[in-house]
Symmetry: C2
Subunit: 245 residues, 2 copies
DNA sequence: GCGGCCGATTTGTCTATTCATATTCCTGCG
DNA sequence: CGCAGGAATATGAATAGACAAATCGGCCGC
């Protein structure tokens, strides 16, 4: 099976093995693992070695461990990590405001040149079907963020059956699909055309643009373009290295 | 000595002890530590326990370890970590452009209400002397970023003697003072007044505003306001959880 | 004097075992 | 029936010992 790794220590091999099982969904969030001793025996190592692996995965946020309780797969990282504005509903709620989501557009298609340009995607991976979405987040009735998103249906087939007319896709995705890497691009723009109209802003008003591309191992999961009315919104990223939990 | 920590495991105490020595400069970058065995004995623990501590610190980027070579304090984290645009000179160089720094203002003072508002500092820590700086970064001759910065002289006394007329303060600081926590705030603004003039932009042009506050354990180190001409610049933050080195 | 090899040293990894601690579960008493 | 308390159990922490891997240095032969 997972041969093809000639030079690797026991705990490195087991670490990758377990991480993969979590990421590809074989072990769903909430799944309870066997106890240290049994896992150790199953992998042919001592409990100390297995403990090192499990401790590491817990530190990375993949597992939650409780004494006597056992070891569980953690819920997908919501905003545990570092730089996350995945769930705009939660973001608005944290400010103590009411949140609304209005779906403006939904279609299943292949990406054309215009959409690729808008989402800053190169000719890169993926010519298959995508779910293309656009919608408006409102806070306390006022436009808060315009979201334009492509979801790779090859990576997240379940998205095909979601309407996203009541739940924003970001909320659903963070609860559904774990990711392994993300790339955020930030820029200031003067809004134009339809985007200005949706946000109720004059053309040329300063807006914060976030382009995010999320990956899960082999393919990309989703690309999203978020436009925030400039002065009204700010984005805070707190960062403390090496202090995972 | 370091009592005052009633409930703590051995490796947690030692971990904090060593981290402190690195952060407050008692162990300078490049300093060679004693070998595991000796450190273990000095702290009254076994080698396995000390190994756990040193391995952890190496993973956090504080130490560099080489077999047979020994264990060394790492050079201060430049942009090893996650979300770093500390050194604008390096940023510009990475784009293959020439970089220039023009100092516009330099004074040692106490922060007034206007400066606090500009840098988004609350009545928060620090009524002592600060070094207040303003300057312009240029790339290939064109304005690239307007920097306004306060440096806490209580935390970085050496900054008092630096002119910063040739080297930007960000470059110097990242090579001098390690930090433990940072907070970035991002916003889009329409530039006004003097800032527009310095950047050579019309009033109201969209710009990316970054406010960063850096801490090192007890006090704040520096607060900086960076204004980037909007369309011309974008900020990319790549993020991969749990993959430290 | 120079280059290659070999041994000593230091970290890396793993094991077997012991004790500690936090929960859960179950039993028994009111 | 419900709650208190104790036993069982899974993880957490630490130890001593052993071997592997990397590499620094010095020794030896040429």
């Amino acid at each position: 099976m997972t041969s093809a790794r000639p030079q690797a220590t026991h705990h490195a091999r087991i670490l990758e093995d377990l991480r993969r099982r979590i990421l590809d969904g074989r072990w769903a969030p909430g799944h309870q693992l066997d106890k240290e001793i049994d896992l150790a025996e199953a992998h042919g190592v001592s409990r100390m070695t297995m403990n090192k692996v499990l401790t590491q995965l817990a530190q990375e946020g993949y597992l939650v461990r409780r004494r006597r309780g056992g070891t569980f797969v953690a819920q997908p990282r919501a905003q545990s990590a570092v730089m996350e504005i995945n769930d705009i509903g939660a973001e608005v709620a944290a400010l103590g405001l009411t949140h609304d989501w209005t779906l403006l557009r939904r279609e299943i298609t292949r990406l054309g040149a215009a959409e690729r340009a808008l989402l800053d995607m190169p000719a890169d991976a993926g010519t298959g079907d995508v779910l293309f979405l656009q919608g408006l987040h409102s806070a306390q009735g006022a436009p808060f963020c315009l979201e334009t998103r492509a979801i790779n249906l090859a990576a997240v087939p379940a998205a095909r059956d979601m309407a996203f007319d009541a739940t924003p896709p970001g909320t659903w995705l963070t609860q559904t699909k774990p990711w392994t890497a993300a790339r955020n691009t930030l820029r200031a723009i003067g809004v134009e055309g339809a985007e200005a109209r949706h946000l109720g802003l004059p053309v040329g008003a300063a807006c914060l643009l976030i382009l995010r591309k999320t990956r899960s191992e082999p393919d990309w999961v989703t690309c999203v373009r978020l436009v925030y009315p400039g002065e009204a919104h700010q984005l805070v990223a707190e960062f403390e290295p090496g202090r995972a939990s």
